[in-house]
Symmetry: C2
Subunit: 611 residues, 2 copies
């Protein structure tokens, strides 16, 4: 037997018990004739005391860091108690010990603050995984997994496995493909998500489905994307948008409770996509803080499509300041209590918005000094009344700093969104341990693709339009006759029955009510530029299924890796994945991908075609 107890469980009640423990040597400390060892396992750390009688053996078989040992001995009360650990009241008086396995000196220290760089840690991931920081992340991940499963089980969802070797239907992202040996010249694809399968399960009457499942996308990896990632994938029948929202708000609340001991009882705000874009400049706003965007000028084109936002904007008329007058869009945020920013600080902000990632030509600002005076970077063009009018529009108060960006609509809105987040970060308004949920609703169903002058699905081709827009879709030809005026096409304003759930400025889940009518699904495929034959070839099984009594249904998928990362207070999903890949899609520990044998290629009826 290797152990009678773990290294995390012995307490004062166990005194005088004879025990056997096994684990890793965390530290070795010699004090004269006696030696203290901290023995570590998953469950904790227990102090071992090797007396003088073991010195001969210790000299012959010295213990080193990360050695695996087994000890037998008696539990004894410590004179010098350690209140920081559960086993801190006791130590083991070792009678005998065995070295089960030695360890070379690790390439980095197995500690919270390791000296290992990213590359080294990834190469020796099995050692990195020993670090408490990483271990806590994986434990949190399992806790989220368990909590989600319990909630979904209690709500009548079945975990039903869907296949991994499926058919390539490259729509949005690129598929990973798998050559078939038995079917020469043919390929499977790895699923980008189980989307169509879960819909088929609804057609089959399973009513409530879920899976915590790997998905695959062969995309160029931006920071913090992985070629394989995990979703909590769910689908329900006979539901409307509110049913889904209520069910999965419940899921997130439950996870908060089980994993973070947070009772998230407040109402989760719901805003439309248009409002999100108008007020925050992006579709996943962080609402842990306000600092909404003020639209100083109604944008000329594009966004937001229609009415509802018009109000008495201060820059609608010529001001004489060309930067504002010529701009498509002028946006402002009001940063509380930042009027005392120094010249150096404002200069630094100007440089910040000029970085290529942000790409603005400059930044204007208005300082609402505490003494009531107002000072701007464009005083030449604006008198005090104009400035105060502008400040009033932004609801600025004494002591506030107004930051203004002007330029092309899309870029400017995006830049202002970034600036808003940056200012919040600098002001400490984005706290890792504060959690704020938000639903974003009513996304556009389509996006316009300039290159091919046609519509693309913003979510995916299975998302239903809002009920009121179904006829707009059915009764109009999707072809865009006049590319310049695509915004006037009836399809431009069709809203999707889709919803995203956002946590602290990150989309953690998204879904939609699905199309379940064959005619509408065919129209959708046509709108996306697919011929009837192509639609049949790629999605014949789904169109077929819709002929035999498909129920109304909808669902959602949560990005499991990201959800865990945010709950763990981290921006990086990689630290929440046991064996992640780097930005080139490589597993540096395994050294994968790698070349394969000629024989394997030959059996698969493929050969290399290197450039």
């Amino acid at each position: 037997m290797f152990r009678t107890h773990t290294c995390g469980e012995l307490k004062i009640e166990n005194i005088n018990t004879l025990v056997t423990l096994a684990g890793w040597v965390q530290t070795v400390r010699k004090f004269g004739a006696i030696t203290f060892v901290d023995l570590r396992d998953r469950y904790g750390i227990t102090q071992l005391l090797f007396g003088e009688n073991l010195n001969t053996q210790l000299n012959a078989q010295p213990l080193g860091r990360e050695f695996v040992i087994r000890v037998k001995g008696k539990v004894s009360e410590r004179s010098n108690k350690n209140k920081n650990i559960p086993t801190g009241d006791i130590e083991i008086l070792v009678d005998e010990f065995t070295i089960l396995n030695k360890s070379a000196v690790p390439p980095f220290t197995i500690q919270d603050d390791t000296d290992g760089g990213d590359d080294l840690r990834m190469k020796y991931r099995y050692l990195d995984l020993r670090r408490n920081a990483v271990k806590r992340n994986l434990e949190l991940r399992y806790a989220v997994n368990r909590s989600a499963r319990n909630y979904l089980h209690e709500n009548g969802f079945y975990d039903i496995e869907t296949p991994f070797l499926i058919k390539s239907t490259p729509e949005g992202a690129r598929d990973f493909v798998v050559p078939s040996r038995m079917n020469q010249g043919e390929f499977y694809a790895l699923p980008q998500s189980p989307q169509t399968f879960k819909q088929l399960l609804m057609v089959s009457g399973y009513d409530r489905y879920y899976q915590i499942v790997k998905c695959f996308r062969d995309e160029d990896l931006r920071a913090d994307r992985q070629p394989e990632f995990t979703q909590i994938d769910c689908e329900m029948s006979f539901v409307e948008q509110d049913d889904i929202i209520n069910m999965f708000e419940g899921l997130v609340r439950r996870i908060f409770k089980d994993v973070k001991s947070i009772e998230y009882n407040e109402t989760v705000e719901r805003i439309t996509w248009e409002d999100a874009m108008w007020n925050y400049g992006n579709d996943k706003p962080d609402i842990r803080f306000g600092m909404k965007i003020n639209n100083l000028k109604f944008p000329l084109y594009t966004f937001p499509a229609k009415t509802g936002y018009l109000k008495n904007s201060p820059l609608e008329n010529e001001t004489g300041f060309k930067v504002f007058d010529d701009a498509e869009t002028v946006l402002a945020i009001c940063v509380s209590n930042a009027a005392d920013y120094s010249r150096k600080q404002t200069d630094e902000l100007i440089e910040w918005v000029k970085r290529p990632q942000i790409g603005m030509a400059g930044l204007a600002f208005v300082k609402m000094n505490k003494d009531g005076t107002v000072k701007s970077s464009f005083d030449k063009f604006f008198n005090e009344d104009q400035l105060k009018n502008l400040a009033g529009f932004c609801n600025a108060e004494k002591g506030d700093l107004i930051l203004i960006l002007a330029g092309r609509e899309e870029r400017t809105r995006k830049a202002m969104s970034e600036l808003r987040l940056e200012m919040a970060k600098r002001l400490g308004l984005r706290k890792d341990d504060e959690f704020k949920l938000l639903w974003v609703l009513d996304f556009p169903l389509f996006e316009y693709d300039e290159e091919s002058n046609r519509w693309v699905a913003r979510h995916h081709p299975f998302t239903s339009p809002k009920p009121s827009d179904i006829n707009v879709m059915i009764n109009n030809d999707p072809v865009i006759k006049n590319a310049e005026k695509y915004l006037e096409h009836p399809y431009a304003n069709i809203k999707a029955n889709a919803y995203d759930i956002v946590l602290n400025g990150n989309e953690i889940g998204g879904g939609s009510i699905r199309i379940y009518q064959k005619e509408l699904q065919e129209k959708m495929f046509a709108a996306l530029g697919m011929s009837k034959e192509e639609a049949q070839h790629k999605f014949g099984f789904l169109l077929g299924a819709f002929e035999y009594g498909a129920p109304p249904h909808g669902g959602i998928a949560f990005g499991f890796d990201r959800l865990c990362a945010i709950l763990g207070g981290s921006e990086s999903i990689r630290d929440f994945i046991a064996f992640p890949k780097n930005n080139s899609g490589r597993d540096v520990m395994l050294d994968a991908p790698s070349t394969i044998d000629e024989k394997q290629l030959d059996e698969l009826s493929i050969k290399l075609n290197l450039k």
Copy 2:
């Protein structure tokens, strides 16, 4: 809102409640002016009564089988109650109804005894999945999943996800590979199992790991194999064989209890691999019945390797009956109460063993008649005393039929194993609802591969030899100098620290205590004919991990699909998989695998190389 209740929940207590139900039309029955409809969903069936007032609408919008409808109405007591279903006391007096979706006439009937053949059912799997028989299977599968997760959670196991895009290390089975776009000319492989990852997790100190996970093997598909299949994959640290056996016997007992309401309290028998082969002719014996094999002659070569089985076999000396005298092996089973088999029946059995799948030249038999006389198919050569001696050796009693096969050891033992199972089947001794577990232990570590004149791992290259055999392995050269006498090589008798768990004659799980010492692992790779460089290239990460304090560990993997099938009383795993593939590895519903675009091939830097 689509429904206030499901079709499975309304009872006599709900009478007079106004309800909304949604579901599928199972049947439509017209009785004069009124129409009865059975409405079906996942939860049950509820009877609907459409009165005369709805006839106009029903005529305009007639209901058909598998239509999806929503109805509103009042719960009412049925005059003609149906005690067979939970909702049988009530019916819904329909006030209004809406057709949510129509259905074409399904290509086969959605019933337990469907008229659909296998191919049709697979093509329209989404309809097949509606059948109660299939639905019950998937429900059972989910119940097993849930039960296993609960047990493992309660026992401190973490579900930790391991990667799907890994490195190709073709050892046993063939890998499915995935071309990497970002790493030209290189490939990922899909995991045949998470074996090395779970071992790394033990090295990382996670102590108890599990996953219910898809695995992939590109093998020619025998009946009832799938290219992707699911394992319950588990690993533990600081354990010996008995720890694993106890833990996972507990898992199976728990599943029996949760899923089948069976308290499996009896001791699970443990036999060695040698005993299994000697007494049952295979390594996964069905012990729901006895009928052990009697070894009438000690086999000349090969099996079983050594001592322990010698007893006074009746055919060790010449008998004059050439069939027995010339045979390497002569095996007998004693079939209770079958002495009255007619000539026709014994002739039929003779034909049965001659079939190519069995491949024997003939079958001898001895009838122990009820009147005390003995009659055999080789009376010419054996007198009554000899026959009675033989019968006594087989523990045959009056009324029994002894069946005897003679020939080459391996084939004969295999054939006798099949004949034993066949006779048990004919006698009704293999009951679907009787469950009998068995552990098979002490497998050989190596098998001899004639073609390459070297050892192959019987289980996998990470399985440890028995502690007492470690030195045999370390201290001997694995090279086989004399191919003919490979059995005399010390490696031939090394036993593995491996165990299989068998249920009703099916291996449902298998595992081993792993090698955790770098030196031993290197020796194992060498024994399997791998050069140092090759071992380093393929498994460098594991050998590396073993340098930094790898703990003793071991684990097991259950074939989840098969376990479910057996618990469901079926021989076929396909009925327990939502979307299975056929014997050519095709998903006929999706029509996958399929050709992919030139552009995709080009991006992946591969081209076809068809023969």
